[in-house]
Every structure is written in C-alpha cells, then in structure tokens.
C-alpha cells in the first residue's frame, strides 16, 4: 500500500497550488519569529535589571560590612591610614578616601563607562558612592563593579533566540511532514482509488473504514456519487443497446421495401435514382446501428468463446475479403510478417479488429497511395499514407470525427479500442513522415 501512496509527490508543478498544511506552517513560522524577535529586548531589559539591582544590593552589603567592621575593630588613626592606603592600592574597585567636609558629596548610585587597561576596552561600571564614618571622621566609600555591556547581552540573547528559532522551524517541518503523512493517509488512499476508477469497468469503489469521521463521511459521499454514476452509465449503455436493437426491424423493412421497389417494371430512371439516393443513407444507418450493437456487446463482454487465434490466417482472410476495395482505390498493399505467436482471444473479435483497422486504412488512404501491414513480436501495425496528423485523443472516441463522408460510421476505431480494452491490449496511433501508424500490442 505504501508504494502506491505518494503524498508528497507534488502534482502542483505550476506552483499555484500548495499543500494544505503549508499554510499553517508559514503562519506558525512567521508568528514565532515575531514573538522571538520581540522577546529579545524584553529579555535584555529583564536581565539587565536583575544585573543592576543585584550589583546595587551587593554594593550596599559591602558598604555596610565595611562600616561595621571598622566600628568593631578599633584601629588607631595611623594604622587606619596605612590600611586604607593598602586597601586602595590592592582593591581599585573600591576605594575609601578621607573627606574634609562631611557633607561634601551625597550618597549616590551611578553608572560609568571607563577604559579598562587590562582588557584594552571600554567597560561599563556600576558604582556606589557613600560617606561613611570611621573613627568619627568622614570617609568617602566608592565601590565599582564591572557590569556586562548591553550589546554583549543583546548579542548573546539574539544568538540563542536565533538558535531556538531554527530548532522551532526544523521541528515544524518535521511535524508537518509526519502529521501530513499520518493525518492525510486516508485522504491519499481515497485519492488513489478515485484515480484508478474507470467507469467503463463498472466496478464499484470500496473505501476502507477510516478512524477519522470527516474522511469516512467523504468516502461515503464519494461512494454514493460513484454508484449513481455507474447506474446512470449502465442505463445509458443499455439504452443505446436497446435503441439499436429496436431499430433493426425497421431498417430491415426499409431495405426490403427498397429491394421490392427496384423490381418494378415501370420504374423510371428518375425513381431509380431516388431509390439509389435512399440506399446510401440507409446503408450508413445500418452500419451505425450494427456497430452500436456490436460495441454494446463487446462492452458487456458477450464474447466469451476464447480460443487460440492465429492472426496470420485472419489477416490473410481479411486482406482477401478487402482485396477488391484495395484494388478499386489503386492502393499499393504491403504485408510484412515476422515471428508472431497465436493469441488467446475471441476469434470473432480478432477478425473485427483486423477488418476495422484495415478498412479504416483503405477508406482514408488517398487513391494510388500505400498501406503497409506488419505483424511481428506480438505487435500488429497498420500504416497508411496521409496528409495531416490526426488528433489522437478524439480518434478512438465514438462519433468524434465528424465527416460528411457516408462511409464513416464513426465507430470503427471505437470498436478497435474496445476490443483492445477487453483483451488487455494497447492500441496506439502515431504520425511520421506523412504516414498514419496504428499499432496494437498484444
């Protein structure tokens, strides 16, 4: 089953159509990008705020500790000076300097950018400045701590965010795929069944029960629709068969009456011409009707008498029957026979196939041109001269080639196609170097 399922084999090569899940995927990606980008300044502000408050707290703690320690330890003024000198030399991040005026500087918290000689760069510093009393004298305590620069923080956050976004998108793509495969499996099952559906076969389509309600509903609706179509198609088919069957008797009567009329002794030339004029359309009517009946019979597989059929024999027989018509049009006829095995099929249908292909070629070959028949390697090829390429699609359809020529029943090639279909053969048409080539592969 998996082999027939190709959910990702895009049919939309023109780029106009998208997979159903591509829409949400795009929206999710854009939305998450927006949110993540927005989160960068928020993260930065929060982190910076935490930094700064934490450092300020820390500074305060240090300040209080220093004050307390100096209070508890009674140092002489001389010692104090030595200590402070040593302190200020060893601890440049905090300094204690004596103040002459007690109120000279207020307590403050500040931020400053200084050149760092050790790292040779500008650094941001957070500082606390406060006046403390040691030995009843005012001292200015200054504590500074290096804070992370904003651009560094933003860079780090941005980098992480980008990485996360990448992970998110990869996750989306993967999820999208696996969801698509899982969720859409019943859909593609239905699709592949519909694709292989052929109304000519008259077979109903059986959908598997799906766990998903929507798909079950879809399958049921499609199933009902298909059944309706099959019914309508069958009715149409039997209508054609019935109609042509009913036409047989009137046609036989018409033909009979014309035959009788022709025998009249008093028949003038004028009337004889009129009868002739009736006979041509009548024979076309006969032909069309006969072929419609035949088509209906082939479609209903009413030819079950299968046997080993020697196409060489049938071809010779057909050529013999058609010999007069070939000669009448002064057509060069060529027969090439290679290795060809017998084919297991209905002899009548095989005859019909050959007769139809040959008579089609004879009718459409210009006078004095040529026809070539080749039978080898399980392929029958009938080629005849022609002027223009025919439209292959319409060629094998019923009544598709409208022509004023009464010779054409419009059904000959449709019968060929139907015979091939019933037997699983392929019929093809090609046009090369002003030659129509019809081939049947057995």
């Amino acid at each position: 089953m998996a082999a027939t399922l190709k959910p990702f084999m895009a049919r939309d090569t023109n780029g106009k159509h998208h997979k159903l899940l591509d829409g949400p995927f795009k929206a999710f990606s854009v939305y998450s990008l927006a949110i993540l980008v927005l989160s960068i300044p928020i993260y930065f502000l929060v982190i910076d705020w935490i930094w700064v408050t934490e450092i300020d707290d820390h500074h305060e703690i240090i300040m209080e500790r220093i004050e307390n320690r100096f209070d508890q330890v009674h140092v002489s003024d001389k010692d104090l000076e030595t200590i402070l000198n040593t302190w200020n030399t060893l601890q440049p991040s905090s300094s204690i300097t004596s103040l002459n005026n007690l109120n000279a500087k207020p307590d403050s918290v500040y931020e400053v950018t200084k050149y760092n000689e050790y790292e040779q760069e500008w650094d941001r510093f957070r500082g606390l400045q406060s006046v403390i009393e040691i030995n009843k004298k005012p001292y200015l305590l200054n504590i500074e701590t290096n804070v992370e620069e904003p651009y560094e923080t933003i860079f780090a956050i941005g980098l992480i965010t980008l990485l996360m976004y990448g992970l998110l998108v990869i996750g989306f793509i993967r999820l999208n795929k696996s969801i698509s495969i899982k969720v859409w499996k019943p859909f593609y099952l239905t699709l592949s069944k519909l694709r292989s559906f052929d109304i000519n076969e008259g077979k109903q389509v059986v959908f598997e029960e799906s766990e998903i309600e929507e798909f079950n509903e879809l399958n049921q609706t499609i199933g009902a629709l298909i059944n309706q179509n099959i019914n309508a198609y069958n009715q149409q088919k039997s209508f054609v068969a019935n109609a042509s069957h009913e036409l047989q008797t009137p046609i036989a009567l018409l033909k009979s009456k014309l035959d009788i009329l022709l025998q009249k002794e008093s028949l003038s030339q004028e009337y004889a011409d009129l009868i002739q004029g009736i006979q041509l359309p009548l024979s076309r009517l006969t032909r069309v009707n006969k072929n419609l009946l035949l088509l209906a019979k082939i479609e209903n597989s009413q030819f079950g008498d299968l046997e080993k059929v020697d196409f060489l024999v049938l071809l010779d027989k057909s050529v013999d029957l058609l010999h007069d018509y070939i000669e009448e049009r002064n057509i060069r006829f060529e027969k090439k026979i290679g290795d060809f095995e017998t084919v297991f099929c209905s002899k009548f249908l095989a005859e019909t196939l050959i007769n139809n292909l040959l008579s089609n070629a004879i009718r459409h070959t210009p006078v004095s041109e040529s026809i070539s028949v080749k039978l080898s390697n399980r392929v029958l090829t009938v080629s005849n001269s022609g002027k223009h390429k025919l439209e292959e699609k319409a060629l094998f359809e019923r009544f598709s080639i409208s022509t004023t020529a009464t010779t054409n029943s419009g059904l000959g090639l449709a019968i060929v196609k139907e015979v091939c279909k019933q037997n699983g053969w392929t019929v093809g048409y090609g046009f090369q170097n002003s030659i129509h080539i019809f081939s049947v592969q057995f």
Partner: protein, 225 residues
C-alpha cells in the same frame, strides 16, 4: 418449389413472399410459433425460412422439432441476432444456412437456390440454364459444350445471377454477396462493375444468350424470356 416463411414481422414476410413468388417458388407464411409448428408437422417444404424470435416460442425449438421428426426440409435461419453463438448453434441443430437481418432479397434468393440445390439428390451438382452448365463440384462453367475459365468472384456472381433470374440486383447486393460483412464498411462498389464486365465479356465470347443486362444507375439483371 415450396417455401415456408416463418416470420412474425408481417410486412417483411409479405415482401419475401413477393420477391420469391415471381420465381419458381410457392410460398406459405407462418407468423407465430404455433402455426409454424403445425405447418412443419403437416407439410413438406423445399426450404424453410426461420426467424428465431417468434411470438409464442423460440425458433430454435421449431428447428429441433423438425429434425426430431426426421424431416429433411432445407432451413435458412433469418435473424436479427447476428452473433457467432447463434450462428453456430443454428448450424449445429441442423440449419443449412444463417442469414443476418437486414439482408437483400437477392441474397436470400441465392441462398435458397443453393440450399434447395444441395437437397436435390438427382442433379445436385449441376445447374443447367439453357446453353449454360455450371458444375458445382468442379466449379467449372460450360457454354455450348465449351468450358470457360472464370475467376472465383466471377463464378460467385454467375451463381448469384442464376439464382435471381429476372431480378434487378443493386450493386450493393452484389458487393455484399462477394465480400460479406466487410462490404458494409464501404460505399463505393465500383469493383463490382469490373467483375461483371469481365464476366459478361467471357460469357459473350462463347455466344451465350446475352441474358446479363446492365440496368443503368441501379445494377444488373439476368433476363430470361
């Protein structure tokens, strides 16, 4: 010669009777199964024309009944059902020929002629028409004791003409006779003209009575006074 036409389509039955009666045939008609069964049981016919779909029963049943009574009447099935199976079934049960509708009356007449000829024990292999002798076994034609050489198609045409004396035969009927079913795939039957012309020429060379006439624009006629 007695012919029984078993055909439910009255118009068609009448036409067949009309066409055949002016030959050497006396025709009886049965329109349904029961009257047909009655007639075949009571009388003998040289040839019976049998339609398969009859009111009241199946034509095959009549054929079976006829053969079970050991009657040797010639039987030609005339049916709209032109399937191989019906054809084979009919011939197997004992029909002498099978002609699908629609047909030319001339074709029917030729078939009747041929069936009756085969059923006659005395001179079954020889048709004699005035100075003309046709040997059906060796397929040779002799005029005034001199053999003439005919092609297969000319020979078939000659038999067809002799089986349809004094009848106007349209070219399409001759073409159908020569090429059977494939004839109705074409509208032009000019080749018939060529064959008839050759036949006429060969017959004329032996000074036959000049019975074969061309009816301009219509076809041909084998005329006998």
């Amino acid at each position: 010669m007695k012919i029984l036409v078993i055909e439910d389509e009255k118009e068609l039955a009448t036409d067949i009777v009309n066409y055949l009666s002016s030959g050497n045939y006396r025709c009886e008609v049965a329109y349904d199964f029961n009257s047909a069964l009655e007639k075949i049981s009571l009388y003998m016919y040289d040839c019976i024309l049998l339609d398969l779909m009859l009111p009241g029963g199946d034509g095959f049943q009549i054929l079976k009944e006829l053969r079970s009574q050991n009657k040797q009447d010639g039987v030609i099935i005339i049916s709209a059902k032109n399937t191989l199976e019906d054809r084979i079934k009919g011939l197997n049960i004992g029909a002498d020929d099978y002609l699908a509708k629609p047909f030319h009356h001339s074709e029917l007449a030729a078939r009747i002629h041929s069936v009756i000829r085969r059923k006659q024990f005395d001179s079954s292999n020889l048709i004699v028409f005035k100075e003309l002798k046709i040997d059906l076994l060796s397929k040779t034609v002799i005029i005034n004791s001199l053999p003439i050489v005919l092609t297969r198609k000319e020979y078939q045409l000659l038999l067809f003409f002799v089986g349809n004396k004094n009848r106007v035969l349209p070219k399409s009927a001759l073409a159908e006779h020569l090429s059977g079913d494939v004839a109705d795939m074409f509208d032009s039957f000019d080749f018939v003209y060529a064959h008839v012309k050759n036949l006429k020429k060969k017959l004329n060379e032996q000074n036959y009575g000049g019975y074969l006439k061309t009816i301009y624009g219509t076809g041909y006629k084998w005329e006998t006074p």
